[in-house]
Structures are given as C-alpha cells and as structure tokens.
C-alpha cells in the first residue's frame, strides 16, 4: 500500500486512533449497556478500516457478523442477565498491584510486538501471486472466495463445523429458549414484514455476486441470520419451526454439503476437495448456497440462545 499522504493518510490516523479510543471506552465504561453499544460502534469502525485496507469482503463480514450479530448477541445476553446481578465496576475491585502488574506486562508485550511488527522484514514472498495466477483454475473470480472455498476450502469445512459446534454447545446447556412474553409489537412486526423479503433478496445477491466480487456465503448467511433475528425480535413464533427435524437438517446442510463434496471429489479426482476444472464454479456455488442457509439458520438459533421447544400454547 502506498505510503500515507495528505487526507487519506490523515483519515487513516484518525481511524486507527478512533479504533483504540472506542475499544478503550468500551472496555472501561462502568455501564454494561454503554460498553456494548460502544463495542458495536467499534465493530463498524473496524469495517471502515477493512475497507481502507482493501478488504471489502472482510468489511462486509465485520459489519454483518462482527458488529451486527455479535452486538445483537451481547445485547440479548445483557437483557437476560438478572437485574440484581452486580454489573461489576470496571475492574476497580481487582487489587491495585495486580492491575499495575497486568498493565506493565501487557504494555511490555504490546511495545515489543509493535517493535517487531514495525521492523518485520519478509524473507520470502507469500503465495499471494499464486492466488492470482491460479484464479482461473479456481472456478471463481473473487480471490478471497477462491481461497475460502477452493485453495483453503478445508479450513472452511472445519469452520462450518465450528459454527455448528457452537450451537451444539449452547444447546448442551439444556436451557429451553424462553417463550416471547410480549406479543408481537405491531411496529416491529410491520417493519419485519417489510424488511424480510428485502433481506432475503440481499442475501441471495451477496451469495451470487460473491463468485466474482466482494461477498459470498458468510456475508449472505449473516444477512439471513439478521433476518431471522429480526423476526424473533418481532415476536414471530419460529420456535415450532426451529424445533423441528427439518430445522436440524438445515443446520447441518452446510457442513454436510462440504463433507459430501469432499468425499465426491475424493472419489472423482482422487484428492480431497479437488474440483474438476469445468464444474468448479457450479460446485462451489452449490456449496456456498448450502453454507449460506445453515449459517443463517445457525446464527438465528444462536441468537435464540436455548433449545427451541415446540409451542405448548397451541
């Protein structure tokens, strides 16, 4: 990237300073709600930073997942925390000595790292160029998608497992998702009805465009997830749907598709996830479609935060 000059350079300085300041505020604020809101805005700023770093894919993912869904999770968690639980003033109860030591240690580490990062001299070039050279062979035009789904598709396979695993973990706590006590809020409900098709459209677009431009399964999936969250907020009774076996099928669709793809490519080409040149684009699209579905479903289910129970008031 070009050395910083003029306005853009100034912008970068402000942006990075703002990141540090927001993070510090979020972590230091005595009020938990305020902390979370600050954290969400920190996430949005991160998205900006990604854009500046020429990583629009990450920018999208950060905005949708890092800021959006993580924020929603944090807020709903805060809402479910019993009122009487002490909020814990920002760490002032920890012994002064401990804090001083911690400060010295972390600052020492940070400054060392800063020095290392600043003087880092690559001894060998990364495979960045290889990505560009092999892009045709990968079957997609967007290098990031190519890496995610093809070159390092195996990472993504395991990553889908991580996502599903998080849900398994949440459910293994054996908590039932509590029923929405407040009935559907009319305003929110109307908004949801309005936004739902739009969001689905956006998701579909991101999924499709991801092949050659910024976007892809994760961004699309998170938009779907956001839609689900919206519906839950609007008090739609999705639990019945979410508790069904179908739901489970949707949840595993992504990782299952990956495993299936892995096996078939193994059988056809003799290598794990080695896509036949001609069909690569199509196969990857199928994978991404399945992934999008289960990412959306999983994120929504994570937001629900408990094992969905079939409606008992029916």
């Amino acid at each position: 990237m070009e050395t910083m000059t003029g306005l853009t350079g100034l912008f970068d300085v402000f942006l990075s300073a703002g990141l540090l300041w927001l993070a510090w505020q979020a972590l230091a604020s005595t009020d938990l709600f305020r902390a979370i809101v600050l954290f969400i805005s920190f996430g949005l700023l991160m998205a900006l930073a990604w854009a500046r770093l020429g990583a629009p894919d990450i920018a999208l993912a950060e905005a949708a997942i890092g800021a959006g869904l993580t924020g929603a999770l944090l807020l709903s968690a805060l809402a479910r925390l019993p009122r009487d639980v002490p909020a814990g003033d920002a760490g002032c109860r920890t012994a002064f000595v401990v804090r001083v030591l911690a400060w010295l240690a972390t600052m020492g580490l940070a400054s060392t790292l800063a020095w290392v990062v600043f003087h880092l001299q690559p001894v060998a070039p990364g495979p960045g160029n290889a990505v560009i050279e092999q892009l045709e062979a990968s079957g997609v035009g967007n290098p990031v998608t190519a890496v995610l789904l093809n070159f390092r598709g195996y990472d993504t396979l395991l990553e889908m497992a991580v996502l599903l695993l998080a849900l398994l973990g949440v459910w293994s706590l054996g908590v039932e998702a509590e029923q929405q006590v407040t009935g559907a809020d009319p305003v929110l409900d109307g908004l949801a009805r309005l936004l739902l098709p739009l969001l689905i459209l956006v998701a579909a677009y991101l999924l499709w465009v991801g092949a050659h431009a910024p976007g892809g399964a994760f961004q699309a999936g998170s938009v779907l997830g956001a839609a689900g969250v919206l519906l839950l907020l609007a008090g739609w009774r999705l639990r019945a749907a979410m508790s069904s076996a179908w739901m489970r099928a949707v949840l595993v669709a992504g990782p299952a598709a990956f495993v299936a793809m892995a096996v078939t490519t193994l059988l056809i080409e003799g290598r794990l996830l080695e896509f036949p040149q001609a069909q690569a684009g199509m196969l990857i699209f199928v994978l991404e479609a399945c992934a999008t579905l289960s990412i959306g479903a999983t994120l929504a289910a994570l937001y629900l935060g408990g094992i969905p129970q079939a409606e008992d008031d029916a």
């Binding site: 920190f42 993580t70 968690a77 805060l78 240690a105 390092r152 991580v162 998080a166 408990g306």
Partner: protein, 100 residues
Amino acid sequence: MTAADLYALAGVGLVGLGLYALIVHAHLLRKILAINVTGSGIFLVLVGLSGTGPDAIPQAMVITGIVVAVSATALALALMLRLTALSGQAELPQDPDDAH
C-alpha cells in the same frame, strides 16, 4: 510507513488493551468483550502486515477468524447466562477448587 503498517500497529494496541482488560475485569461480559477486542486486533495485524497490495489468503483467514469468534462469543454468553442463573453472580469464583 504505510497505512497498512499503521493499522497493524493499531491492531497491536488493541491486543494490549484487550489482554489488560481480560486480566483485570471480573465481570464475565467484560471478559468476553475483551476477548473480542483482542481478536479484532489480531485480525488487523494479520491483514495489515501484508505490505504490498491486498493478499487474499490472510483476508480469507480473517473471515474464518471472525466466524470462529462469533461462535465462541455465542457459546461464552450462553455459559455466562447459565452460570449466573445458578450461582447468582456473573463472575468466576475466586478459588477454582471450592466452586462446589
């Protein structure tokens, strides 16, 4: 220095902040926030260090990282809520042994 370096350094700063907060804060929600901040910092380093021109591989790694982070956060929050419901406080017992 380039803007990328700047962001990488900012990332290092975030790592420092996050680690410090993780150590000193008792409240689990804050600890979770701290972990997330640390993660973001590391992601910044990972991408920011690719000096000349954007490199798709670290970017893909960061996307993977973001998804892992949100999964971990969701699990952590659920655990925190369950623990709070049982023990009545959103903090870890001082002595791990007599959590009984």
